[in-house]
Amino acid sequence: MFPARFRYEAPHSLDEAISLLRDGGDYVKVLAGGQSLVPMMKLRFATPDMLVDINDVPGLAYHRTDPDGTLRIGALCRHADLEFSSLLPGTQPTMAAAAPLVADPLVRNRGTLVGSLCHADPQGDWASVMLALGGSVIAQGPAGRRAIPLAEFVTGPFENTLGHDEIAVEAVVPKALGTRAGGYLKLERRVGDFATVGTAVAIETSGGTVVRAGIALTGVGGSTIAATDAAAALAGKPLSADSIAEAAELAASAAQPKTDHRGTAEYKRHLVRVFVSRILGGSLSSTTGSSTTGSSATGAAAERAA
């Protein structure tokens, strides 16, 4: 597989990278982990004139928590950094559940969360997770920095609202209003496969009441779907079997799946319902109030059998 001709630049600072984007012409692309962009180039689905490789830019490989609990993920933080992070378990159950389900271990060593958000693949896992958590993206361009809430960042399949001369430098998960619970469930045909269906659920409870809820869906629409009605059905009351059933039903109706080689629309919609109830059912039965439900649905039966 031989990509079309392109110019390659590997700047050593953000300013330099931004100037290259600004002056580089019509079709310039940032290269982060390369796990989406390079496959597209090798198939010649993407034929950029220039790549601006940001891997040599120092200070982007972090993820850290602010004193108030805000989580910040730098543009060069790899999926694997999150998978093995000690910051996520306990405080970020939805992220902790999703991290090991993104792609396969090889891809996770290179690919980045921020790159995945920018790529805006409707089958990308991180966009759902960040949407459910109410996250945002920090963009930096010639005019400085701005925060873009995820709901406004991903506008369609493979479309985001970055300016052509902007780099996404960081993703941000706001501090929790209570205790976080939730999880991420994904049906994949095998490890490394994109989701047939992925479901991200994030709730925050305080004093037995759900004070914030987010539900987002992967792979069941033209882009990542925020199931806002489903989330609203949970908020402002204690989690109960009834509210879970209602949220699951609303999430299923928010899905806009299509029948394809991964399954029928009906099946995918059904899975959304099952996954939302499984994640929330786990939260309900968990005594700590913060539980992690994450597994590719493949293996679920075996787990139960064990």
């Binding site: 031989f2 399954g263 099946y267 493949t298 139960r304 059998a305």
Partner: protein, 801 residues
């Protein structure tokens, strides 16, 4: 008088790496160091690069091709189109199944991915750029994606290039006893029916196909480095198609990164690179990319079954009726050596005592890639065994009989051999019931059935699937098997040097099977020369003896037999040398591993190495010097290994996801040369069986687009999904006619495994009354079966919004 155990100075066979030694694979040394030498590693001075332009459409008339922009691109040396090939009578080539196949399309494209043009340029990037500059004007035609569309009254004729081809039928063929079978069905108490589709699959070796053609005008010699499992067949084909003198053609198969049948056919890319090298008088390299490999090269399976079994109330099988419809794609280029149109499909039910059977088979052209290959099986045996074991499971269920008991009752018995199968094969040996007992004990059958019943009460769906297989291996005896008229023998040449070290060459070609290791073990077994002292070489037609290559698990049954036979020829000569050295007559000489001795004085002896030295330095008067020989082996019959595979699964009733709990494999492949390699072959085969059962297939949408054209959609299971296997080797029935009793093992598990997985899932959901879910048994299909209690077809085109 023979020597007693105390006196024996025979070598310890395991220590010298003989039969039964799990010797480490010698080829792995270079592979794990990254020092393998594959076709893409071949770099010749002045070498150019070729890229193929493929059709984006499945069926279309070519109105025009304009390559002028490609010619104009700097660095482009040659653009080949069908029209140019036609001027050299190379636009079409004969197939191994007596049809024709387009090399580069002239009139129409007949499948997505078909070769339309080639660019040869200074580097592969330029070649690819130039391909994009070729303008082809297509007039789309309706694509035919399955046999039923192809058989429809108003279906366009795909092969309008052929005179006398008025429809899309490739052949109608039958075998068996129709009248006897009809009678059996009249007498039946129960008739059990089964309809299903074995999906199109692809062998998908990690290394794709490729060639480096090097025609030297000065010497007139054509050397081609090429990914072939059968280099001598390629030489013969090139001589016949390109009309070059055979002695001026050298085909070299260097290290091969997996074949699985995919590298048996001759592909258009090879032909084009050869022609380009002749025209340009410099080496031309063509390396196929993964998508090219998956969409255009030899696929496997794609057969529909209508099966029926006539049964007596007590469980006895009275007769079997099968009708198959095979989807051959656009050209009938099945790479199979048998005289039978549907390959060895009629090996079905060979392990069962079935009084009468009849099979009808129809082949149909479709707008899909051609080149049916035997993906890890003797041709169509995988389908035969899958059909058989799915039918057997349904039959037992229809009778309300236990799965194990039904099989046990109908097996051919150990003392029934030689046994004539209902379709006319002759099987020679086996202990079928014993293998089944070993498997049932290992899986703890009775207990699992109890557990299953208990679990069902709590809403959990457990299932157990049994599959058995017997595979006709060796392809084959010269009466019934040939390629291009060449009989299916194989060969070995052994040269023992004067220091007792040796080089062995065969007409087979290893692609991962470990010939470099196991052939040396056969020599060690026959001659007592330590395996480490024998180097094995294959794949170069200038040096290897003529042989038919490696596929259909034929290496050990045929080339392996030739290795034993040539070793015996060497030993016969060494015996004469020993008599000479020991100054006794040949009749007084006895052999024990590694040594000849005098019968009456066992202490007096000479080693095989001493004989080798004498062959070059001290031969008796009148004896030709040297210790070298060649053997050609034409097997008297096929070999018939047997296996039982048992799988247990749990199905998630809400999602349809299923997981393997355990898998037990009992393989009786006769004598095992290298048990470790045998186990590796079984595990590899089981993994491919699991792949086919659970995820791996090539399908198409209604417009003719291939779904599964890359590794994101053509799913190979990784270490994460692949279940663990429990292997059993305690049943050993040596092949009565093979010199060392081996039967072949490379493919058994891929052949017999799929039905075990599918039967297990079907067993888990048996309460739904659903008879069949087509492979791959994807979670959505299971969910559909559970929810709607109906059979689920996987036939293309796929359902799509």
């Amino acid at each position: 008088m023979t020597t007693t155990a105390d006196e024996s100075r025979a070598l310890d066979e395991i220590k010298i790496g003989g039969l039964g030694s799990s010797r480490k694979r010698v080829e792995d040394d270079r592979f794990i160091r990254g020092k393998g030498n594959y076709v893409d590693d071949v770099v010749l001075p002045g070498m150019l690069h070729m890229e193929i332009l493929r059709s984006p459409l499945a069926h279309a008339r070519i109105k025009s091709i304009d390559a002028s922009k490609a010619w104009a691109l700097p660095g482009v040396r040659l653009v080949l189109t069908g029209e140019m090939m036609a001027t050299r009578n190379l636009a079409w080539m004969p197939t191994l199944s007596y049809d024709t196949q387009a090399v580069l399309a002239t009139d129409k494209v007949r499948f997505q991915g078909q070769e339309v043009a080639c660019v040869i340029a200074d580097d592969p990037y330029i070649a690819k750029d130039a391909c994009e500059l070729i303008e082809v004007d297509y007039e789309p035609l309706p694509p035919i994606m399955n046999p039923w569309q192809g058989l429809a009254e108003d279906a366009p004729v795909i092969r309008d290039d052929k005179v006398n081809q008025a429809d899309n039928v490739v052949y109608n063929w039958e075998v068996g006893d129709k009248a006897g079978t009809d009678r059996a069905f009249e007498q039946a108490d129960v008739i059990s029916k089964m309809e299903l589709h074995y999906p199109r699959s692809h062998p998908s070796p990690i290394e794709c196909c490729g060639s480096v053609a090097d025609f030297n005008r000065a010497t007139q010699k054509l050397t081609v480095y090429l990914t072939s499992q059968a280099p001598h067949i390629v030489r013969a084909a090139v001589a016949m198609v390109a009309e070059l003198p055979e002695h001026m053609i050298r085909i070299v198969s260097p290290d091969i990164g997996g074949g699985f049948g995919n590298k048996v056919p001759i592909y258009p890319g090879y032909v084009c690179s050869i022609l380009a090298s002749i025209l340009l008088e410099c080496p031309v390299k063509w390396i196929e990319d993964k998508t090219g490999n998956l969409i255009s090269t030899g696929f496997a399976r794609d057969v529909y079954l209508k099966g029926e079994m006539a049964l007596r109330k007590d469980g006895k099988i009275l007769g079997v009726r099968m009708h198959t419809d095979a989807d051959h794609g656009a050209f009938f280029s099945d790479a199979q050596p048998s005289k039978f149109k549907i390959g060895l499909m009629h090996s079905a039910f060979a392990a069962y005592d079935v009084p009468a059977a009849h099979l009808t088979a129809r082949g149909v052209y479709t707008n899909k890639a051609p080149g049916g290959v035997a993906y890890r099986c003797s041709f169509r045996v995988t389908e035969a065994m899958f059909f058989q074991e799915r039918m057997v499971q349904a039959a037992a269920d229809d009778l309300g009989m236990d799965q194990a008991a039904f099989r046990r009752m109908n097996f051919v018995r150990d003392d029934d051999f030689p046994h004539r199968t209902p379709f006319g094969f002759l099987t020679d040996s086996g202990q079928y019931a014993k293998c089944l007992e070993v498997g049932l004990k290992a899986i703890d059958y009775e207990n699992f059935r109890k557990e299953q019943a208990e679990a069902r009460k709590r809403g959990r769906l457990l299932g157990l699937g049994i599959s058995t297989m017997t595979e006709p291996l060796g392809a084959g005896n010269s009466r019934e098997y040939d390629i291009l008229g060449i009989k299916m023998f194989d060969s070995a040449e052994l040269k023992v040097h004067m220091t007792g070290k040796a080089i062995l060459r065969t007409g087979a070609k290893t692609q991962g099977q470990g010939h470099e290791t196991t052939w040396a073990q056969i020599v060690a077994h026959e001659l007592g020369i330590p395996a480490d002292d024998v180097v094995v070489e294959e794949g170069d037609t200038d040096t290897a003896p003529f042989g038919m290559g490696t596929y259909a698990s034929r290496s050990t049954p045929v080339a392996g037999a030739a290795v034993a036979m040539v070793s015996r020829k060497i030993r016969a000569k060494a015996r004469k040398l020993a008599a000479h050295l020991l100054e006794v007559s040949e009749e007084d000489i006895e052999w024990e591993l590694g040594r000849f001795y005098v019968r009456s004085a066992p202490g007096r002896g000479v080693t095989i190495q001493e004989c080798a030295m004498a062959a070059y330095s001290n031969m008796p008067d009148g004896m030709e010097p040297g210790l070298e020989n060649t053997a050609y082996y034409d097997p008297p019959n096929l070999t018939w290994p047997f296996a039982v595979y048992i799988v247990t699964v749990e199905v998630d009733p809400e999602t349809g996801v299923w997981d393997v709990l355990r898998m037990v494999a009992v393989d009786d492949c006769g004598v095992r040369i290298n048990p470790m390699i045998v186990e590796g072959q079984i595990m590899g085969g089981l993994t491919e069986a699991y792949a086919m059962a659970s995820m791996q297939f090539i399908t198409f949408d209604a417009d003719g687009n291939c779904v599964g054209s890359n590794y994101m959609d053509y799913l190979l299971p990784s270490a994460w999904e692949t279940p663990g296997y429990e292997l059993h080797s305690e049943v050993v029935t040596p092949c009565p006619h093979h010199p060392i009793g081996a039967k072949g093992i490379g493919e058994c598990a891929a052949v017999g495994g799929p039905a075990a997985f599918v039967n297990a899932v079907m067993d888990a959901i048996s309460e739904t009354g659903v008879r069949n879910i087509d492979m791959p048994v994807l979670p959505d299909r299971v969910w559909e079966a559970l929810t709607y209690r109906r059979d689920v077809s996987g036939a293309p085109p796929i359902r799509q919004d």
